[in-house]
């Protein structure tokens, strides 16, 4: 029997901001994407009391809570806090899987002799998190990741829930299936059409029915309903070993935009970021995808396959921009995304022609400077004025490895 902890930081971005600025403490506030627009990334518990939720638009949030204070996201602060948290968690077990910037799984199986039982460990983590960082978290303890995550969701903020093996059936019986991590809205609908609403019902559903409807994930679904999950806690190092399939970035623009040169500039900035991440992971890729979201949230993607794998920002940009030029924009654009897939390991072959060699070496020199002094310290003139634009931290952010940029 394993002992897994799921730690979910409470209103992480908001709490970090409140900790940094005393004037924000005790107030209804929320961390937002950018000054003028975007969505609520993290409301404080004071704001949540008014019904402000993550993902709301500003107008909606203000409607729910007129006195709310908006604070633009400061990714450096959150990643730094996350690194400190990881340090605390790693002092208990090396098996720490960062699930997102404010969530992690810890496998504390066999840590009993050193730190006591899982509940003692969870209490200790909560105490240290408060003492050292003035942050609170909810911790769920269970025999696997699925149940641990369920536990941390059950009591917020500052919760601690243990789901013991003999309590699993009771917890799951009437729990709506959509509460399980991995069962999203569309899956919920499909399940409902089969008359399955709760985890209890899912666990009792005939395997044949699930497999004929959902294919190979049928068995996994039923296991979810039964609270069975063999997925190991993959520590950070192992997570990075996993080969990435694609790399991409997207950003919500400060305001809806129909200005082609401006959209191109955003694409260049995103292409540069993607290129840098590819080079860092020694990757290059052949398929370039451009994602656009219109003002009415209609979202679509177009991709192009190249004959040669690329990892240079300008090559990615050239392709993404040529896709853009073939489109007829029907509405102002709200969000732009660029990604590269069909990844191959860049073989580190030095090009023969002098021009190409120069370009490769230039990119490497720029990477080196930007690694030391921060992203976009050295960049194309076109992007210079955009440097001040704070990026929104990606949920896939990792403190180490190729997801860092």
């Amino acid at each position: 029997m394993r002992s897994i902890l799921h730690i979910d930081m409470n209103a992480f971005f908001a709490s970090v901001e409140q900790r940094a600025n005393p004037a924000l403490r005790g107030r209804a506030m929320a961390v937002i994407g950018s000054e003028n627009r975007g969505v609520i990334l993290s409301p404080s518990y004071e704001a949540r009391a008014f019904g402000v939720k993550t993902g709301m638009r500003y107008g909606e949030a203000r409607l729910a809570c007129p006195d709310i204070v908006f604070v633009p996201a400061d990714s450096a602060k959150y990643s730094h806090a996350c690194e400190q948290l990881i340090e605390i968690w790693r002092s208990f077990t090396p098996l720490v899987e960062l699930f997102s910037i404010d969530e992690a799984f810890l496998d504390v199986t066999g840590c009993g002799a050193l730190f006591g039982d899982p509940v003692q460990i969870a209490l200790e983590i909560k105490e240290r998190t408060w003492e050292e960082m003035k942050l609170t978290c909810s911790i769920g303890i269970g025999p696997n990741k699925l149940l641990a995550k369920l536990g941390s969701d059950m009591q917020k903020p500052d919760g601690l829930v243990l789901i013991a093996p003999d309590g699993i059936a009771v917890v799951l019986e009437d729990l709506p299936a959509k509460e399980i991590c991995g069962i999203g809205p569309s899956l919920t609908q499909h399940l409902a059409s089969l008359g399955i609403r709760t985890c209890g019902e899912l666990g009792r559903a005939p395997l044949r029915l699930l497999c004929s409807r959902f294919g190979i994930i049928g068995e996994r679904l039923r296991n979810m309903g039964l609270g069975i999950d063999d997925d190991p806690v993959a520590p950070l190092a192992a997570q990075q070993e996993e080969e990435s399939k694609s790399m991409g970035h997207s950003m919500t623009l400060d305001e809806d935009c129909s200005d082609m040169p401006l959209i191109e500039r955003h694409i260049l900035q995103l292409s540069e970021k993607v290129g840098r991440r590819l080079r860092r992971g020694l990757y290059s890729g052949r398929t370039i995808t451009l994602t656009l979201r219109y003002a009415d949230f209609q979202t679509f993607t177009r991709q192009r396959r190249l004959r040669h794998a690329v990892n240079h920002g300008l090559d990615i940009y050239a392709t993404a921009a040529s896709i853009l030029h073939e489109l007829r924009l029907e509405q102002p654009v709200r969000l732009v995304g660029v990604s590269v897939s069909g990844l191959e390991r860049d073989v580190e072959q030095v090009p023969l022609f002098v021009e190409e060699r120069k370009r490769k070496f230039l990119a490497e020199a720029m990477d080196e400077i930007n690694d030391r002094h921060g992203a976009f310290t050295v960049t194309w003139g076109t992007l210079a004025e955009r440097h001040s634009h704070e990026r929104i931290i990606s949920p896939a952010w990792r403190p180490e490895g190729d997801r860092q940029y």
């Binding site: 004959r307 191959e344 390991r345 580190e348 072959q349 030095v350 023969l352 022609f353 002098v354 190409e356």
Partner: protein, 371 residues
């Protein structure tokens, strides 16, 4: 149309065109060949609109005529025929009938007018060249020509002709952006100074023709603005040229090197082969370390293991360590014929020059990898 022909004779013709006919079904007629019977011979013509091949083969023609028919099916049928002779008849509705011994085949044909005609290239001023010399030049350069490269000029072999003392200098250059090969040969001929780029596929076909049993003998080359023409007894090949500017290849051929070492080709080839067994699959990286008196080849693949081999060489100078794609090295080595080769190096990020001792007119350049 009605004729009798020896299986061996027509098979030679059918074999030659298999590489030319279109395999992708973009234009169905291009998977056909054109057969023309006239006088005491037949002509077999095939084209993919880039390259055209026309050959003449001896036959007993009873009734002249022409038809087009699937090149692949015709080849497969003739190859399997039991007797030494066969008869070809075209019946109403363009049915092509093949009779040999007790076997009979009827193939769907199309009227000859639907077949695209080969471009006309004027035959004046053609250059005569020894088939063997040409074959050798192609062999030594074609391996490095690009394949499906977005820089489309790299998908062809660059040919430059210039008048020098003693005759006409023909230079061929191939590169795929990672390696390059360049050969110069002087032949007894006259031609104006000219540069052109010939598609890789045409050169592959030409090489195949030159590798047939009787490579000896003369071949004549001719060029028009858009086409190259190759002619040999009863055989004509036309190819479109690639239009564009070839990159400045001379710039990347190192003129001076700080480190030079000569080595027996066989010894080096086998060492590279052995060591590269354990190179990383995708990169084929081999590390080459040159020190005083020795050259060490090594590979390291964390998933499989590591290998190293030390070769004694006559070298006195600074040490250097450079990585290479072993496949690129092997390509160069198999294009070379002499017993001793020379490696010229500068540093880990500069091009490496490989030459055969005694032939300063053949140069191979390989760009390093980072290891």
């Amino acid at each position: 149309m009605k004729l009798k022909i020896k299986k061996e004779e027509i098979l030679k013709g059918l074999q030659r065109i298999q590489g030319v006919v279109e395999k992708k079904n973009t234009m169905p007629i291009l998977s056909n060949m054109l057969l023309i019977a006239e006088g005491s011979s037949i002509e077999i013509i095939a084209t993919d609109l880039e390259i055209g091949l026309r050959g003449r083969y001896a036959a007993e023609v009873e009734k002249p005529g022409a038809v087009t028919v699937s090149a692949k099916k015709m080849y497969e049928i003739v190859r399997e025929l039991p007797a030494e002779d066969l008869q070809i008849k075209v019946e109403d509705g363009n049915w092509v009938k093949i009779i040999s011994g007790r076997s009979q085949f009827k193939l769907v044909g199309l009227p000859k007018d639907e077949y695209p005609s080969l471009p006309d290239v004027a035959e004046e001023g053609m250059i005569a060249i020894d088939g063997e010399i040409l074959r050798d030049m192609i062999k030594k350069t074609l391996y490095s020509v690009g394949e499906n490269d977005a820089r489309y000029v790299l998908n062809g072999l660059f040919v430059h002709m210039s008048q020098v003392k003693g005759g006409l200098n023909i230079r061929m250059v191939g590169t795929d952006g990672h390696r390059l090969s360049m050969i110069d040969r002087v032949i007894d001929a006259k031609h104006k100074e000219e540069s052109l780029i010939i598609p890789k596929k045409a050169m592959l076909e030409l090489r195949r023709i030159l590798e047939e049993d009787s490579p000896k003998g003369e071949l004549r080359l001719g060029f028009s603005k858009n086409h190259a023409l190759f002619k040999r007894d009863g055989l004509v090949m036309v190819s479109k040229l690639i239009d564009g500017n070839y990159p400045n290849y001379l710039q990347v051929v190192p003129a001076k090197s700080t480190k030079k070492v000569t080595i027996a080709k066989d010894v080096f080839t086998h060492a590279v082969k052995r060591v590269s067994i354990l190179s990383k699959e995708k990169t084929n990286a081999v590390k080459m370390q040159l020190e005083e008196g020795r050259l060490i080849l090594s590979t390291n693949n964390p998933e499989v293991g590591e290998a190293s081999e030390e070769l004694a060489v006559d070298y006195k100078g600074d040490s250097v360590a450079i990585g290479f794609n072993s496949r690129y090295l092997m390509d160069v080595l198999s294009a070379m014929d002499r017993q001793t080769i020379a490696l010229e190096l500068n540093d880990a990020l500069s091009p490496c020059l490989i030459t055969e001792e005694g032939d300063e007119h053949y140069k191979c350049v390989v760009m390093p990898m980072r290891v």
